[in-house]
């Protein structure tokens, strides 16, 4: 189930709100666990068992690690940690990467091993990373062990973040799982945040997606430069508003149930280098890799060669985490190399450039990155990349002019929406009317009603409501 659907808005969410708030506090984690299982099982009834197995393994692993540590048995704790992390990773590896590995073997050895053709269990990359972070944190002593399987299950399955993150680390919501204080203020914050996310996803991302889809199917052999860049820009906006909108909705829903998840995006398209981009994009994933891979490998305190090695490992993994295909690996390596170059080669020079140029540099490398990300068929991909740099044999044509002017309003909204302007304008206006309850309520209410109404209009009529992050 996805948030931006009639089913979620007019069946699931109302039901969950009633159940959750009708139950006494003691039972609320149980309610969250049960409804989250239903949320996951909707349309994917079989894989819910896989998720339950994953939860049981990591929960037992956490208990074992904790018990060994208490008994002073460091070796036992290490083994328990290793076994449960390996188990989680094997499930992820098997269900997500088995066919990719088989295909590669077939290609390399010219053999013909039949593929398993398993459907990818939705959200497995997200929840596996959460369970691993939990066990490691218990081992490191930075998280308390959770003895209650219901609370732990509620943490892993919690529907707001289940299928597309943010990747919530257990230690950040341990206290909230044990005792949290829902309040009207927090609920209202959640409403505003949820509406922001819904609008980003349904009104902005989907419309950018329509533009991208109309261009990606064009014959790349005579695709004008301008059209190719409009296309990749549309995809750049689609993926940002899609994913960050989803994170906004997750954070907003979290608030409605008294949870505070950490931020996942911070205006990534304002960045002035690839390094900065990754501090602002999918923050919970970057944090995860830093804490559980990069730093344990020695981070940047291992000399130049070690630094290069560690960085490349992290980025290869980041790439492959996004999908079992070569283009994702390539995309990861691309960023690994860019970050290395910025750190070791031209970072200093870059900083001396005017801000505008640094921004242009960043957006160009990010857009080329999204181009790599979007093509899992190399053949079609090369033609498109060539077209971006003139391979289509013309700079612009009638079609380019048409796409520009007929999407002008959309493109301006997308550009402004990626900046801090909307947030600053909103907080500026709200600050002015802070003393007036009526004005505040009218403004916030109007925003809610307008975004809600337009989104429902698009959802009812649109057949177009894909969700990019389903693959992960």
């Amino acid at each position: 189930m996805i948030f931006s659907s009639l089913l979620f808005l007019f069946r699931f969410l109302p039901l969950v709100l009633i159940l959750y708030y009708a139950c006494p506090k003691k039972l609320r984690n149980l309610v969250l666990l049960l409804v989250s299982l239903v949320f996951y099982a909707w349309g994917e009834p079989v894989y819910v068992i896989l998720m339950i197995v994953s939860i049981l393994i990591s929960w037992t692993g956490g208990l074992a690690v904790d018990r060994f540590l208490r008994a002073g048995n460091e070796r036992g704790a290490k083994i328990a940690l290793g076994v449960s992390v390996a188990a989680g990773l094997s499930l992820l590896g098997f269900f997500k990467y088995a066919d990719f590995v088989l295909r590669t073997i077939n290609d390399v050895t010219r053999s013909d091993i039949p593929l398993l053709r398993l459907a990818l269990p939705i959200g497995i990359s997200f929840y596996t990373f959460q369970t691993i972070s939990y066990i490691i944190d218990v081992y490191r002593g930075s998280a308390r062990v959770q003895t209650n399987i219901i609370s732990y299950g509620a943490y892993v399955t919690m529907f707001p973040q289940l299928i597309a993150g943010p990747i919530v680390q257990y230690k950040t919501i341990d206290r909230q799982l044990r005792m949290r204080q829902e309040s009207s203020e927090e609920f209202a914050d959640g409403v505003m945040r949820f509406m922001t996310g819904l609008g980003k996803k349904v009104l902005l991302a989907n419309n950018a997606g329509v533009l991208w889809d109309s261009i990606r199917v064009m014959d790349t052999g005579n695709l004008p430069v301008v059209t190719a860049w409009i296309g990749i820009a549309a995809y750049t906006f689609q993926i940002y508003f899609d994913f960050s909108g989803y994170s906004d909705m997750a954070i907003g829903l979290g608030h409605m149930f008294g949870f505070r998840f950490l931020e996942n995006f911070d205006h990534p398209y304002l960045s002035k280098s690839a390094t900065e981009f990754w501090r602002r994009w999918h923050i919970s994933l970057g944090t995860w890799f830093r804490e559980y891979v990069y730093i344990p490998l020695g981070g940047n305190r291992v000399g130049r060669l070690g630094l290069v090695r560690n960085t490349m490992i992290v980025w290869l993994l980041t790439g492959i985490w996004h999908g079992a295909d070569w283009n994702f690996m390539l995309w990861g390596v691309y960023y690994g190399i860019l970050l290395m170059l910025e750190k070791l080669v031209y970072g200093k020079a870059l900083e001396r450039l005017p801000a505008v140029l640094r921004h242009v540099y960043c957006m160009i490398v990010v857009m080329i990155g999204w181009y790599l990300f979007s093509y899992n068929e190399i053949s079609g991909g090369i033609g498109y990349l060539a077209a971006m740099f003139g391979g289509g044999g013309c700079f612009m044509d009638r079609g380019s002019v048409y796409q520009l002017y007929s999407n002008a309003v959309l493109l301006v909204i997308l550009i402004l929406g990626s900046t801090e302007l909307p947030r600053k304008a909103a907080s500026g206006i709200l600050a002015k009317v802070r003393s007036s309850n009526t004005a505040t309520v009218v403004l916030r209410g109007a925003f809610t009603v307008i975004v809600f109404t337009l989104s429902v209009a698009y959802l009812v009529s649109a057949s177009y409501n894909p969700f990019l992050y389903f693959r992960f």
Binding site: D189, V191, G399, L410, A457
Partner: protein
């Protein structure tokens, strides 16, 4: 936000969510949508099998969307939002000039089916040409509005050039079979006349061509095949409605500029009766005027789509029998042929489930005409049934 404000904001949100939830729950189901002209998904039955296969989930979501309260108004709102954002198209439809809503047919001509259908039609025509010479075998693909009314498109719009596809079809057919509807319509359009009967070639709000266009192409066919001659004086033209809002307007949920539908009746009437689907449903009029009171006014011709409509003209004595294999573009075309044949059968491969070859064998036609609209032909999987 202070507590006081938050209570109000929450109330607004909960009213929206719960209000629509309750409304969708208590509203009775509708069987079909008049505006969209299709059957709506009904609430699916919950069974273990459907649940585990994920079928229930899919059907339920479709049900929720199809049966959503005020469905038509939401679609209207979406189209209005698109126009407010200065979009020149929505749902693959251009907002054309002079009130024209013009389907874009994105991808229709470049799909695998489009290519296969050329082969299929060529195979069928090849087979036919063993029995029929070019004088008695014809193929008409009517170009769509997007191709003919290019001056009505938004500035710089750059849709697929149907001519390319039509030329590929023509090149694959036996010599002399092709009748160039595209040329007739484009020449007429280039003349820039303002006669509402002959110069408005397509409906503004519907995907069909107008009766006057069909007449022009009919005359070209008649001459090219040397079946006879026809002049405008042979017909009495009546406007049967001026408030036709077609399928494209419906799809966008908007009130377009209403269209008129014309009917060409022979000035000298002759006897004719129609047999529907080889049943006892026998009628003596082509036109079903009850349809003019419904949304689907184009169904005034023949009452809509049927697998087989046999027309017999007992007094014609021409010795010729025509088979038209067609889609709904033929509905305003076929009546013109009735004055030139003893019998004209219209067969719609999308709805006719028996063997086409067997029918042809039993009826011993003297002439065969294939007539589809270009995009409909390119997209139609039932074309495969020609060779079955």
């Amino acid at each position: 936000m202070n507590k006081h404000q938050s209570v109000y904001v929450n109330t607004i949100f909960l009213l929206l969510i719960f209000g629509f939830t309750v409304a969708t729950l208590i509203r009775p189901q509708k069987e079909r949508s008049e505006t969209e002209n299709r059957v709506l998904q009904q609430r699916p039955e919950l069974t273990w099998d459907s649940l585990l296969a994920g079928e229930f989930a899919d059907d339920y979501e479709e049900y929720l969307s199809d049966q959503f309260i005020l469905r038509d108004s939401w679609i209207t709102l979406k189209t209005a939002a698109e126009r407010a954002a200065l979009k020149q198209e929505t749902n693959d439809v251009y907002f054309g000039k002079d009130g024209y809503l013009i389907e874009k047919h994105t991808g229709a001509f470049t799909s695998g089916t489009a290519g296969q259908n050329i082969q299929r039609l060529a195979g069928f025509m090849q087979m036919m040409s063993e029995k029929y010479d070019a004088q008695h075998l014809s193929c008409i693909l009517v170009p769509n509005a997007v191709d003919v009314l290019s001056d009505k498109l938004p500035a710089f719009a750059d849709p697929y050039n149907e001519e390319e596809y039509l030329q590929n079809v023509q090149a694959s057919l036996p010599e002399g079979v092709w009748v160039d509807a595209s040329q007739v319509l484009k020449e007429q359009h280039a003349r820039g006349g303002t006669d509402p009967v002959y110069d408005q070639l397509y409906y503004r709000t519907d995907h069909h061509w107008k009766t006057g266009s069909a007449y022009l192409v009919f005359r070209k066919w008649l001459e090219q095949k040397q079946i006879g001659v026809s002049s405008e004086e042979q017909y009495q033209v009546t406007q049967v409605t001026d408030s036709f809002e077609g399928t494209i307007a419906s799809r966008l949920g908007i009130q377009g500029e209403p269209d008129s539908i014309e009917r060409f009746d022979p000035a000298v009437p002759f006897d004719c009766y129609l047999i529907y689907n080889q049943s006892d449903d026998i009628r003596n009029s082509i036109y079903r005027d009850s349809c003019l009171d419904t949304k689907d006014k184009y169904a005034d011709f023949y009452g809509g789509n049927y697998g087989l409509v046999e027309a017999k003209m007992p007094d014609a004595a021409t010795g010729r029998r025509l088979l038209i294999i067609k889609d709904s573009y033929a509905h305003c075309f076929a009546p013109f042929t009735y004055g030139y044949f003893d019998e004209v059968d219209m067969l719609d491969p999308r709805y006719y489930n028996d063997s086409i070859a067997q029918l042809m064998e039993s009826k011993d036609y003297t002439d065969v005409l294939f007539l589809f609209n270009a995009a409909g032909f390119a997209e139609e999987s039932a074309i495969a049934r020609l060779l079955a």
